[in-house]
């Protein structure tokens, strides 16, 4: 690993189309020579935009894209040693297979013999020998896909970009092409950057997976690292199935969540808020009373090689993948090995809102202005030793405190927040951009028009994209001066 050479480096890349919302935010990423890198994320996370910026079809708003150490962000696509396999193949319908593949070679003014030889070689690589004279429109989807790959790799690019190339194929064909692409990557030895929203595809094919959401890199790692050691709750939820619980560290390598005490292998200080991730296949069903949890089976669905079993343990629900069938209503014990519990420190930056002090009104308090809302707070919450004298705020010595324009941070716990579908009922209106299930409730991220995220817990199931209003827990919000 140490000898790996960086071929592509993105430094602080930002991209916005309308000047307001950022599709890519301060993204930095290194891609090593010869790697098979997958950009994985839900639709709209910016993965295709990154690919298009490396390919030269989009220019970053700011930041640098380095190839072999030199900035290529201003180069047009035809001057980059990079080729793309497009999502819908983009084969030229007016040219036959040979002319499609030879398109790039002819532009390089290669001799006829050399062109013939290269086309023949690359057709062998994609298993379509003898297809030279065929019209591309008579080919099946899988064959068009191979021609598109052949057309790109025949130019011997330094980097091959693949934009969800398998999404139009049926399941079996996709599986087959995954293996073939992997083999092709081994044989050619060039860097592959592959974009997909299919986490299984990403885990199967890649040397390195870049998980993205909201224009930001969430985690970079090998497929094993991504799956076993998710860096945050988003990754844990997005890759594979997982049970996520809010909890707290109760001692050395001990955590309390889902209403029970668990031993784990991650060491964090006592009292720290955490989120625990447990994969359904790592939960073992035991006799009632033997495991850490006891609960009642609520459903068991056959999935071919295992049963998806849901067990209700008090108020918490656990998904279990087990080989045996347990009838709904059965009481079972659940046991999890310490190294199968993955502890993620709770993200303390969520629900931190930056604002400024706008003034002080006697009787009402200090007036705070934030991007989405404004609020009066009791002066003692920010200045514990302050007094009011003649309608002005003074400190313990009776000196006037200049508060105007001071920066403050407001914070609330997700469980204290509330949401409503009545836009007038809440303080801030926004859309649900993501959510995941935490044992006994959902955690929703709501984004306002000012691009501020509010994380609110709720027991009901809402949909992504729903327009809701957030009710701020005014009495339970905490404030501090910056």
């Amino acid at each position: 690993m140490s000898e790996a050479k960086t071929i592509i480096r993105l430094t602080d890349v930002k991209k916005t189309y309308d000047g307001k919302t950022y599709v890519i935010e301060d993204l930095s990423l290194d891609i090593n020579e010869g790697e098979f890198v997958t950009l994985l994320g839900p639709s709209g996370c910016g993965k295709t935009t990154i690919l298009r910026m490396i390919g030269g079809f989009d220019k970053p708003t700011s930041g640098e894209i380095l190839l072999d150490g030199s900035d290529i962000s201003a180069l047009p696509p035809n001057e980059r040693p990079v080729n793309t396999v497009f999502q819908k193949y983009a084969l030229f319908p007016h040219l036959n297979v040979y002319d499609n593949i030879a398109f790039g070679l002819k532009l390089q003014n290669l001799s006829r013999e050399e062109t013939d030889k290269k086309v023949k070689e690359v057709l062998e690589l994609v298993d379509l020998e003898g297809f030279e004279k065929r019209s591309v429109t008579t080919l099946s989807g899988g064959q068009q896909q191979r021609i598109a790959i052949a057309r790109a790799v025949v130019n011997e690019p330094r980097v091959l970009l693949l934009d969800e190339p398998l999404s139009a194929l049926d399941y079996k064909m996709r599986k087959e092409m995954q293996l073939e692409l992997k083999n092709m990557h081994k044989r050619l030895g060039i860097t592959f950057i592959f974009v997909t929203h299919d986490q299984e595809e990403a885990l199967t094919m890649s040397d390195k997976v870049v998980v993205m959401a909201d224009g930001k890199v969430q985690q970079v790692g090998t497929p094993e690292e991504i799956y076993n050691e998710p860096a945050n709750v988003f990754v844990a939820d997005f890759i594979g199935e997982s049970n996520i619980f809010n909890g707290v560290m109760t001692g050395k390598m001990k955590a309390n969540f889902a209403g029970a005490e668990f031993e784990c292998v991650d060491d964090y200080e006592q009292g720290k808020k955490i989120e625990a991730v447990i994969r359904p296949e790592d939960v073992v069903v035991v006799k009632p009373g033997e495991g850490q949890l006891t609960g009642e089976v609520t459903s068991a669905d056959f999935k071919g090689t295992f049963y998806i079993t849901f067990v209700q343990c008090g108020q918490y629900e656990m998904e279990v993948h087990c080989l045996d069938h347990y009838k709904p209503g059965t009481t079972v014990g659940l046991s999890v090995m310490p190294d199968n519990i993955h502890i993620i420190p709770y993200d303390m930056t969520i629900n931190n809102f930056h604002g400024i002090i706008d003034g002080f009104v006697d009787g009402k308090g200090i007036y705070l202005v934030f991007d989405d809302f404004s609020i009066f707070v009791d002066a003692h919450k920010l200045y514990p030793f302050s007094n009011v004298s003649k309608g002005r705020l003074v400190d313990e010595n009776g000196e006037h405190i200049d508060i105007h324009g001071k920066e403050v941070v407001a914070f609330f716990q997700p469980e204290d927040g509330d949401m409503s579908d009545d836009e007038k009922a809440g303080d801030v209106v926004g859309r649900i951009v993501s959510f995941y299930y935490i044992g006994d409730h959902y955690s929703y991220t709501i984004r306002s028009d000012h691009e501020i995220d509010y994380v609110v817990d709720d027991e009901d199931l809402w949909n992504q994209g729903d327009k809701v209003s957030v009710l701020l827990p005014k009495n339970r919000m905490k404030y501090r001066l910056v």
Binding site: Y89, F103, A152
Partner: protein, 270 residues
Amino acid sequence: MTEGVTLKKYRFDRNQLVIPYLIYLLLFVVMPLLVVIYYGFTDDKGRISFANFAAFFTNSKMMGTLVYSLIIAITVTVICLLLAYPVAYILAKGEYARKHAFLMVFVLPMWINFTLRITALKEILTLLEGNLAYHPFMNTVICMVYDFLPFMIMPLFNSLTKLDQSMIEAGYDLGASFKQVLFKIILPLSVPGIISGVTMVFLPAMTNYVVLDMIYNSTYIMGSLIGSYFNSYDWNNGSIISAILLMLIGLVTIFTDKILSRNENREVRI
């Protein structure tokens, strides 16, 4: 489900909907065509004769007019294509928020009465040139180009809008410059649009009558020639010219249809 006894005798068939159209076609397309052919191949006493047909190809004035019409039609078509293609390309592929509004501006002259447009243009040309008689060819071409340009822009715009942006990107990706992308990808893929644009300009330009009649009252081109025969009650000669033009246009249409259908077969299926 409600096949009652009364319906058994007479049942409405969807095919019967075609009857009004058949009658229309017979009365206004087939019959006039037969009349034209009948007059074309008879003499003034109503006897069958190929004299008119032969006369057309031996009469140097008529052949000259045919050639002149062809030259005008080809010039008009080529100029329209050269003017319209960049406009259509910029409108279809440029990043304008209101490209359809721009397109409308180009097509807007069509909303104004044709006679008014040509008369106005005639006045402008007279103002510029003094006497229109000095440059009859140029003036004819200017008037026709002005009149037919929207018919070239529309099909080109449609065809270029449909052109998948990823084709163009694939061209750049494989190392082509803008010029190479234009000539190797965009132009070949917009051939259907070019052909329908050419058809929509070439055919009316070839048979146009009104434009020249309004500017010159002349018999230089085919449409005007036919008009002049009919105006002097020479139905036979007028008809044979119409019939011959019809055949020529028929040939052109069959030819372009073939190219078109060949191109449509080439569109990628996914």
